[in-house]
């Protein structure tokens, strides 16, 4: 039984927790990260990073199938092997997790392997050892996948799986039903479709990617359908008959019942937060009615002074980059600085299916609801020279401009490289640039980003190239 003391103890070494520890040591504090599994958390090991590796395989396969001949490349029959792609994705994750380990060493962050449980407002027990935080405890325990037990969709790891299992499959299933068409569901539908699986994508809300702008959803639904994915939106899952080698789903679609049989069902309808069994009740940390840890968004402090929460456990949106920002912020708060408040209205959202969908700010629907006097500027990639040259003409840039002050209320990009392109508009919104400033920045030609400048101009009624 050992005891040690640090300025900051971070419970959880994911994309929120480890940057918090690094920033704390940068500010001259001593910090330790307590991690029960691998450093980097879900993001690095079973989330963001390996799925991007698999999506790259999928995109390459799709591009070769679709374009090779036209581009003057002779390939013969294109065969795919999910097992090979999966192993590569594991290596990528491995490298990233090692990278985080290196960062911990470089920044003199102590890594404590084990499951931490709060035992008081400034101590955490890991096994028989007790660690004391002299300045603050940061809870960054993240979230996990979940099924929908009430309709029979309890995760069994064989026929009812989640991303956790899908990332380790040796072979792509013949048929797959994906329940939930948010970012995770849409990405896996894209991946398995490219590896030859017959995919049905099922969404309870009226459209795929329900948090995105309706126009973005439309493009994805069409692109998926064209590639052979069956897209069902506005669906209620009534019941599931689960066997080890397959599942039959009973659905209600537009008032009619329908059944679907699939070898596997991939559950991608929401995640559960890891708030249990870490001692929260014992020290009196309160939860919100939605089950997140209740925080003060300025300081990220919980209901217990000296205990902070960041990342998925601290509330929506459950996104790695939101958690990372909270990690940096909380370290500065604990170090006694007064960082600028986190602007939660400027957290971008990206889905890395093909074409990619990226957005920041409000959707047109939300803009309408809030009663803004607005004008939409659009520019399709089909009118962009570079997009034509690279055969990536699906999608558009859409900018919603407030007529009164020119503010960019929302920006939506669907396209092959939307995830990278959105940052121009995030920067614009963060600095409160108007569409005029976006236009004033000279955009290189020929680039996909010219579509952003054109959409900005179009919102003023003066696009040049359309």
């Amino acid at each position: 039984m050992a005891t040690s003391s640090f300025d900051v103890l971070v419970l959880g070494g994911g994309p929120a927790g480890y940057p918090a520890a690094i920033r704390a040591t940068q500010l001259g504090l001593t910090a330790a990260v307590i991690e029960r599994d691998r450093l980097g958390g879900v993001c690095v090991n079973i989330g963001c990073i390996p799925t991007k590796a698999l999506l790259h395989s999928a995109a390459m396969a799709n591009a070769i199938r679709k374009d090779a001949k036209e581009l003057g490349i002779e390939t013969g029959e294109v065969k795919t092997d999910y097992g090979v792609a999966m192993k590569r994705s594991r290596r990528v994750s491995e490298q990233n997790s090692k990278g985080v380990e290196f960062l911990m060493k470089k920044n003199k962050v102590t890594v404590i392997k084990g499951t931490g449980i709060l035992t008081s407002k400034n101590t955490i027990a890991v096994g028989s050892d007790t660690y004391t935080a002299t300045r603050g405890i940061v809870i960054a325990t993240g979230s996990r996948t979940k099924g929908i037990p009430p309709v029979g969709l309890t995760v069994n790891g064989t026929s009812v799986i989640t991303s956790d299992e899908a990332l380790f499959l040796e072979a792509a299933p013949k048929t797959l039903a994906v329940v939930g068409a948010g970012a995770v569901g849409s990405e896996f539908a894209d991946i398995f479709n490219a590896f030859g699986t017959e995919v049905t994508l099922i969404e309870a809300m009226p459209r795929v990617l329900p948090v995105e702008d309706a126009e973005s959803s439309d493009v994805i639904a069409k692109a998926f359908t064209k590639r052979g994915i069956t897209v069902l939106a506005g669906v209620t899952v009534l019941k599931a008959d689960v066997k080890d080698n397959g599942v039959t789903l009973h659905l209600e679609v537009g008032g009619k019942t329908q059944t679907i049989a699939a070898e596997k069902v991939l559950m991608a309808a929401g995640r559960a937060v890891n708030t249990e069994a870490i001692g929260l009740e014992k020290v009196g940390v309160k939860l919100t009615d939605r089950g997140f840890i209740q925080i003060d968004t300025a300081t990220l402090q919980t209901s217990v002074p000296g205990i902070y929460a960041i990342g998925d456990v601290a509330g929506a949106p459950m996104l790695a980059h939101k958690g990372t920002r909270e990690g940096m912020h909380v370290a500065e708060v604990i170090a006694g600085h007064h960082p600028k408040a986190i602007d939660y209205t400027n957290v971008p959202s990206v889905t890395y299916c093909h074409p990619e969908v990226a957005s920041v700010g409000l959707t047109e629907e939300q803009v309408k609801e809030r009663g803004y006097d607005y004008q939409v500027g659009r520019f399709p990639f089909s009118a962009n020279g570079r997009a034509r040259a690279t055969n990536e003409t699906d999608g558009f840039v859409k900018i919603i401009r407030d007529k009164r002050y020119g503010e960019i209320l929302g920006a939506h990009i669907v396209g092959g490289h939307a995830s990278g392109m959105i940052h121009e508009l995030i920067l614009a919104r963060t600095n409160e640039y108007t569409v005029e400033e976006v236009d004033l920045a000279i955009h290189a030609h020929p680039t996909l980003s010219e579509a952003i400048a054109e959409a900005a101009l179009d919102s003023l009624g003066r696009a040049v190239h359309i």
């Binding site: 500065e332 600085h337 007064h338 600028k340 009164r404 002050y405 020119g406 409160e432 108007t434 400033e437």
Partner: protein, 444 residues
């Protein structure tokens, strides 16, 4: 890493400040928020506080130096650390600025290294920028597809004259008639962002986020100009000048007010209040009934304030300042009396916070103590009116057919005709006279 201490803009109109006295010596430890020095602005003596913790490693100016806003005055670092660019980091004091003009090869002030600019940071270099600022204030409300203002202050080369503000904040300020140079920025490095203007719009223009100022009234009603109001405004401005002022004078019988005051003071010597306090209280009560007088002319609209904040002109050694009695309609005479005495005495000592003298909705000027019978006061824009109060003197008047001696006082209301038409001003004055002549009206 050392952090530069700069002369901060401690009042909305401050361009330079006199560092009256250092409160810390070189080598003294300082914590964030510690008072480093006293600084005399154009309006008051205020405190320059530490924005970083450590040790005061260098004072760059002596007591008494006049320093331009945003120029360095010292460094905070670690004990024993040398100040960056030590001898070269001369602040732009007035004398040196002159010397520099004569010596074109002089090096400019080097920027010290600051660790993570966003937090350890220095003050906003946001001195007022008269030229660029008027470019915005004068601007008509923005139309649909107007280009951004070409006179963007960002292009100004002079850093102290530059107002750091986001494009959206600039437009919002122009639209709301907020003087952007007077807004305290809360963005990175003191940049003015949208939320600062949203905050400012509910406070009177010219109102910086006062460090310790009283809470400001939040509610107002903007009334778009009718075609008739526009025509009236246009014609009158052509006729007499930017503020078409006219004057209304009335004589008030102060006999009853004097009696009431005598009785109240006899009851409680300490709770003394003056006749002027009675006028403040009565005017506040009358304004409650006459929204058009408790208003501002905002160029494209009239802003009727829902709260009543009365500016009281106070003569000081080298000029005039108008501290404000906020929510005067909700305060007792004694509270007003105590507040005015406190404000006036601190005004004379130059110890008012900016929040205490900016943002009045109506102003009262009293020259009675100088034996002035009546006078016309000059409107303090954007306010729509000002009340000039003369002396109280016994006069023979006819009451019920008999000549009697009564204490009388003359009031003159200066009105901005673009906001207040003759009958509107007269109605307000009538209410005010009625209240002063029947002080019980203030109770009921």
């Amino acid at each position: 890493m050392a952090t530069k201490i700069v002369m901060e803009a401690l009042s909305p109109t401050m361009e330079e400040g006199r560092l009256v006295e250092w409160k810390k010596n070189e080598g003294d430890p300082v914590a964030v928020g510690d008072v480093l020095a006293e600084v005399e602005t154009d309006k008051a003596v205020m405190e320059l506080v530490a924005r970083a913790a450590g040790t005061l490693i260098k004072r760059l100016v002596e007591d008494g130096a006049i320093v331009a806003v945003a120029s360095p005055v010292g460094w905070i670092g670690e004990a024993g650390e040398a100040a960056p660019g030590d001898s070269a980091a001369a602040p732009a004091t007035r004398a040196q600025a002159v010397a520099r003009a004569a010596e074109p090869t002089a090096t400019s002030v080097p920027d010290g290294p600051t660790e993570s600019q966003g937090e350890a940071s220095t003050a906003p270099p946001g001195g007022p920028a008269p030229a660029s600022q008027t470019a915005y204030v004068d601007r008509a409300p923005r139309g649909e597809s107007q280009p951004i203002p070409e006179a963007a202050p960002a292009s100004a080369g002079d850093d102290t004259a530059r107002v750091k503000a986001s494009p959206v904040a600039r437009r919002m300020a122009a639209d709301k008639g907020v003087d952007i140079a007077s807004v305290a920025g809360t963005g990175p490095e003191g940049r003015i962002v949208k939320r600062d203007i949203e905050g400012a719009s509910s406070t009177p223009a010219g109102m910086a986020a006062a460090p310790t100022g009283a809470p400001i009234g939040t509610a107002f009603t903007d009334i778009p100009l009718s075609q008739m109001r526009k025509a009236i405004a246009k014609r009158l401005v052509q006729s007499i000048g930017p503020i078409p002022t006219y004057y209304l004078t009335a004589e008030v019988d102060m006999e009853r007010a004097a009696e009431a005051r005598d009785v109240l003071i006899a009851q409680d010597e300490k709770g003394k209040f003056s006749f002027n306090d009675v006028v403040i209280r009565a005017a506040a009560a009358a304004l409650r009934q006459h929204a058009w007088v408790n208003a501002w002319w905002m160029d494209d609209r009239v802003r009727q304030w829902q709260d009543i904040h009365i500016g009281v002109a106070v003569a000081v050694e080298d000029g005039l300042i108008t501290p404000i009695v906020r929510h005067a309609d909700r305060k007792t005479l004694r509270a007003i009396g105590a507040e005015v005495r406190d404000l006036a005495s601190r005004a004379r000592d130059k110890r008012l916070n900016p929040g205490e003298y900016t943002g009045a909705t109506f102003t009262i000027s009293n020259l009675g103590m100088f034996g002035i019978d009546e006078f016309t006061a000059v409107i303090n824009p954007p306010e729509a009116a000002i009340l000039a109060v003369g002396r109280i003197e016994p006069k023979p008047v006819v009451i019920n057919g008999e000549v009697v001696v009564r204490r009388r006082m003359r009031l003159t209301l200066s009105c901005d005709h673009r906001v207040i038409d003759g009958a509107t001003g007269a109605a307000f004055l009538k209410t005010l006279v009625g209240m002063l002549e029947n002080p019980l009206a203030l109770v009921w």
